[in-house]
Subunit: 353 residues, 2 copies
């Protein structure tokens, strides 16, 4: 605390990210990173760009990347906003589309940055209680006063909400913005991007940190009606004109161009997830039917927190949330097949002690 | 305008950056970029990092870079904050240290992002009128209600305020934060960093975009008392945990390590600036005594706006501000010796027509 801080700042409770360790001896399955490196073409594009014009400012409108994302999804660049990771995109979206005094809705179990943004922008919130089994009661999101946000698939539950239900939420909030945070969508069924042309109140947020193996590069995006995108640009340009550096632009463009690599690594992770889920079930874990690159699982033969601690001692970092309804669960990111096999052996050793 | 925008957002007037053109046939002297590429060691560090762990999140606390900057300036890492360009650092600083209802002060002619931040955070502002000749009347910054910010050297005036005057401003605002925006300090006399240990209300903001040739990489920093830095970290962690990507961290670390390259290029620009100033004076321009990597100059034989337009047609991009007190001036970034010679020839052709 300091007398120099704005009094409002003194009350903030910042987000606490999962542990980031560069120790290569640890198998890191705690922040849902991709176990595969980015496409070699991405690295080549970054190295080529580094040699060019790093002394010059990047494009403040990032048109080249927006066009590339547009051609991947069949959208115009005016329907695409990019930011410094999807966290920045979400922060700017909360500021642009939600308003103090008008209650917004999000699930009671969800991405833990949402309450931090709500606090930062002094928003009123209704936390919608998930059903037993963590499913989203989509009708509870109808008729919001100030807007809706939820991840699809939800985190840390890993559960996917069918697009028919998403569409009902959109129809029943015609004058509010509905933000679908699709950080994990490439490991799930269908993106809500297909609904953008029909719903001007839909904003879809995605990231290159998970399915495109670029957590270290910091690129996220929002897609929606050009009016929504224009609002985000106005706020961005009132905060920081150049949020994406030249190397990130070059790498992200190539990440969308190399669709074959994306498809191959994405399918490998989905296959590993399904195998891992079966293996956990054999070991008497209850595992939610994940559509993400992680599973939320509850062990029958050991306390979840104890498993988390003992795995850490054994060199495996997973995530434990000491929160209501989640006390009996651990969240485990999907790594390579080899990493998951090693993890299962470690679980066997710990539970059979 | 859209019904989905927060009403406050509808009133925003965003910052408009100088034109960014990638056309290599244009000599670009409009946004104060460095004409020299970054150190070859910076590029090597970026390429090495790209091959490593781009799939993993960067460090949210960016300790390695903070330690490197600390060792350059003789500060502890707890006295250093880094952000996604100094624009982001300034935006977060406005939010952390200034407060609606308490009037802050900045010069009436200054960096045009300040009024945008003030509007974004709904701050009350007193714009202090510069003296004739654009010097800062430093006593007018005493006893501010809510804090002080100004660039040193000021932009776009290019003028440096002596540290004795800066110190008087600090002494006469003991309960307010005084932000010195030192974007151009490496082309000037002495940084206010030397005052940090004596004034807990001092925040010094710098950037790697100018003197370190890394505008394309987006790294800026703030230095001050650990309490101020802690406040900035709280706000950053309520907005976006990972603002600096892995490549930017690696490049920035090396930019501080390679002090010899920094010194060599910095001195070249200062020497070119002094030569260029004399040449302009020979051509009947009034040139302010610049301590930056640009000059603010007023031509006697042609209207400033006309010069700007005709130089653009001739392939030279400089900056013209259509603003009170600046109508008769152009701002010209200092490029290489060769670029400035070409520019002088073009000016000769235009003024002798």
């Amino acid at each position: 605390m300091s007398k120099f801080w704005n009094p409002f700042i003194k009350q903030l409770e910042p987000y606490i990210p999962g542990e980031q360790l560069d120790d290569p001896s640890i198998i890191k399955l705690n922040t849902n990173e991709n176990p595969f490196p980015p496409s070699p073409k991405v690295l080549a594009a970054i190295e080529e760009e580094a040699e060019k014009n790093l002394r010059l400012y990047p494009s403040p409108t990032v048109d080249e990347l927006r066009e590339e994302i547009g051609s991947f999804y069949g959208l115009k660049k005016e329907q695409i906003f990019v930011g410094n990771g999807s966290d920045e995109v979400l922060a700017l979206s909360f500021m642009t589309f939600f308003e103090p005094g008008k209650t917004i809705k999000y699930p009671d179990i969800t991405y833990s940055f949402y309450p931090v943004y709500a606090q930062l922008y002094q928003l009123d919130v209704e936390e919608v209680t998930l059903e037993d089994g963590f499913t989203i009661p989509y009708e509870s999101f109808f008729h919001s006063e100030g807007g809706v946000i939820f991840p699809n698939p939800n985190a840390p539950t890993s559960l996917y909400l069918e697009l028919e239900a998403v569409e009902e939420i959109l129809k029943n909030n015609p004058d509010q913005v509905v933000i679908i945070d699709e950080a994990y969508i490439d490991f799930a069924k269908k993106s809500a991007v297909s609904l953008i042309d029909n719903y001007s109140n839909l904003l879809v947020v995605q990231t290159l940190s998970k399915s495109r193996s670029l957590a270290g590069l910091r690129v996220g995006m929002a897609m929606g009606h050009p009016d929504l995108i224009e609002g985000l640009m106005r706020v961005k340009d009132s905060f920081n004109s150049y949020t994406i550096d030249r190397l990130a632009i070059a790498g992200a463009v190539e990440a969308f161009r190399d669709a074959a690599y994306f498809e191959k690594t994405r399918q490998k992770i989905i296959a590993t997830r399904e195998d891992f889920r079966q293996e956990l079930e054999k070991r008497r874990f209850y595992v939610l039917p994940s559509q993400a690159n992680f599973v939320l699982a509850s062990p029958a033969d050991i306390e979840a927190e104890k498993l988390f601690i003992e795995l850490k001692q054994a060199g495996f970092l997973i995530r434990y949330f000491n929160k209501p309804k989640l006390e009996n669960y651990v969240r485990i990111s999907i790594g390579t097949k080899e990493q998951m096999t090693k993890l299962l052996h470690a679980i066997d050793r710990i539970t059979k002690e």
